[in-house]
């Protein structure tokens, strides 16, 4: 049956089956629900080590990890791994250890469900919650956008040709494929359905399933791509090279007749070095395999199909590499991770996550970075970065069923983040805005859950509309802006947990400073493009602004009360 239908349709059938399976799992997990708001929000603190690892890892790895890392490696080369993956192995786990375990302990002792409850109590200020809530939601939305945009970018090329009359596109790589507006809508609805049904428990189960799927599919995709490239030894040769005359050339091409990658009789020029003085240093080299910086000029197709000149860097400047170390600090302030931490059955549950998280990152990122680097030798230099992985699958994996499974793996990574983020914004709105201002007992358990669900729907609608507006944004760069905001707020949580002298005024000053500096840089970047100032990423300036404001204003204002200090710094801790 599958042999007689268009390949794009076969891919779509496999993806649909996967989404159906996911919905079934979500509904199954809802049968385990205890029907209470605590179960909906934090799974009644019952999640064990393996589920916690899978849900934390699945949540932190989104379209950014698979689609974004492949696209960034296609642009900048192997330095992409050091920019985000290896530093995350050190810093994510440090945040779990220094922030996660302590927040879990305080949350367990004092009954916190959200970050804002913790900050309100620690800084003895209700108003702080009203300032922090819109900031956290505004920063979660770009993270949600990454997922919805990434899903659209992934599905269109792999379903190309499925509906040639219905979904026309100027680029043959996308013509007839399911458009981003439709795939984004379906993905949002599926995630909404299982979050609605199972709440935090449903998200943890779905995350575990999806994390296993995307890790397994990543390994399968890697094996197939390597096979098509003629083995690991051959794959390294495919990477684009600089010619003696300073052109960036592809020496290999995919031969549809033999279904294999063959050396071209004449290298194909895909770009050239921007500066003539770089030619001598880079001639004969494959710049994507190292981190030395070189600027290139290449052709790029505009959305209406016109070819225009574009410029970009290959490699990673040293100062940029160093400043990227601040980006993984963002996990210390992710509200959805805070919520996952609170689902843990005990503090010991964290131990597996601490050790396995860096290894899981390596298992996912190394193949993606290699695929992105190899893609430089096969795909047009001006291809949108978010479309690199799906195009490699489409070209090199000529089995529609397998492409469908691999695409399902990418969607799994995306949805395993969307669910937690949807759930956390609903949880914050319900607990920090509605219930916080209401008399105790005003709402029953069912009403509380429905308030959360209503806010989740509102956020999904906003995200969906924004995803259509920003459909052509670079997923990696958009993610970096989101992480920049959260990283810059990390001094707030570190001071709250480890500095007795930190005050409410200091907390207000820190948040306001971060908002001001972050927004200034975001506007300077053209609202979501890559930006550095003196080679340094904005995250460093934003972090320093937040930390400085916290320290100076706290020292200038009255210390917290003894009661608060006793509550948050018990005698046994240091």
């Amino acid at each position: 049956m599958i042999a007689v239908i268009a390949p794009g349709v076969s891919v779509l059938i496999v993806i649909s089956c996967y989404l159906g399976l996911l919905l079934g799992l979500g509904l199954l997990s809802s049968r385990l629900s205890r029907g209470t708001s605590k179960d909906f929000f934090v799974a009644s603190h019952s999640i064990g080590p393996f589920l916690l690892l899978m849900s934390v890892f699945g949540t932190t790895m989104t379209a950014f990890a698979l689609v974004g890392s492949t696209g960034k490696a296609f642009e900048r080369g192997i330095g992409t791994y050091g920019l985000m993956a290896s530093s995350s192995g050190l810093i994510h786990a440090a945040c779990f250890f220094l922030i996660g375990v302590k927040l879990w302990s305080l949350g367990k002792k004092h009954g916190f469900v959200t970050q804002i409850q913790f900050f309100r109590a620690r800084f003895e200020s209700d108003k702080l919650g009203y300032l922090l809530f819109p900031v956290l939601v505004a920063l979660v939305i770009p993270y949600l956008l990454i997922g919805v945009i990434g899903a659209g970018k992934t599905i269109r090329p792999v379903t190309a040709g499925a509906f040639p009359e219905l979904f026309k596109h100027a680029n043959p790589l996308f013509d007839g494929g399911v458009p981003a507006w439709l795939s984004g809508l379906v993905i949002c609805l599926v995630v909404l359905a299982y979050v609605f049904a199972g709440g935090s428990r449903g998200a943890a189960w779905a995350n575990t399933f999806q994390t296993l799927v995307f890790m397994a599919m990543g390994v399968v995709a890697f094996a197939f791509i390597v096979g098509k490239l003629g083995g690991l030894d051959e794959a390294g040769k495919v990477v684009a090279r600089v010619s003696d005359k300073g052109a960036l050339v592809q020496e290999y091409g995919y031969d549809k007749g033999t279904s294999s990658v063959e050396k071209l009789a004449e290298p194909k020029v895909v770009g050239k070095l921007k500066h003539a003085e770089d030619v001598e240093a880079f001639a004969g080299k494959q710049p994507h395999l190292a981190r030395d910086v070189v600027e290139i000029v290449h052709k790029k197709k505009t959305p209406d199909g016109k070819l225009v000149d574009a410029e970009r860097e290959i490699g990673v400047p040293w100062v940029m590499f160093l400043s990227y170390m601040f980006i993984p600090l963002s996990v210390g302030m992710f509200p959805h991770l805070f919520q996952h931490w609170l689902t843990a059955r005990s503090a010991n549950t964290f131990k597996l996550t601490l050790i396995a998280h860096p290894i899981c990152i390596m298992v996912v990122w190394v193949p993606c970075v290699l695929i992105g680097t190899w893609a430089t030798g096969l795909l047009p230099a001006g291809l949108p970065p978010a479309a690199v992985l799906s195009n490699m699958l489409n070209i090199l994996v000529d089995s529609p069923v397998l492409t469908g499974f691999l695409t399902a793996g990418i969607l799994a990574a995306i949805m395993s983040s969307l669910d937690s983020q949807f759930l956390c914004v609903g949880t914050m709105f319900t607990n920090d805005i509605v219930l916080h201002g209401a008399e105790r007992g005003k709402f029953d358990e069912k009403q509380i859950i429905w308030i959360a669900r209503s806010f989740i729907i509102a956020i999904v609608v906003i995200t969906y509309v924004l995803a259509q507006i920003f459909a052509n944004k670079n997923v990696f760069d958009l993610a970096i802006w989101c992480f920049t905001g959260f990283s810059a707020l990390t001094p707030l949580v570190l001071a709250a947990l480890y500095w007795r002298r930190a005050t409410a005024a200091g907390a207000f000053a820190s948040i306001i400073a971060v908002i001001a500096v972050w927004f200034t840089f975001f506007a300077m970047s053209g609202f979501g493009e890559e930006l550095t100032l003196f080679g340094v990423l904005p995250v460093v300036y934003c972090f320093m602004a937040g930390a400085t404001a916290m320290v100076l204003v706290s020292l200038a204002t009255r210390p917290p009360s003894d009661e608060t200090i006793d509550k948050f710094f018990p005698k046994i801790s240091n």
Partner: protein
């Protein structure tokens, strides 16, 4: 022992800036670029560091305090 863990974490943070690999486009095992191989090994070293931290610097006192029943929750 907490100071040793802290020192090792700082050392790993420094080792992340592997400037000596910056221009090296050579391949290890014939397929993995040297800089990528180094950072993949770095990920394994990070896992080892946190295993060490759990063994020797786990905050067991605050965890025990949190799990004790002597104080009620807020909500």
């Amino acid at each position: 022992m907490k100071k040793v863990v802290f020192g090792l974490a700082v050392l790993l943070a420094i080792l992340h800036q592997d400037f000596w690999n910056w221009s090296n486009a050579g391949l290890v095992f014939g397929f993995i670029p040297t800089g990528l191989f180094y950072h993949a090994c770095y990920s394994l070293a990070a896992a080892a560091l946190w295993a060490f931290a759990i063994k020797f610097a786990w905050p067991s006192e605050i965890v025990a305090w949190a799990e004790s029943e002597d104080e009620g929750g807020e909500k």
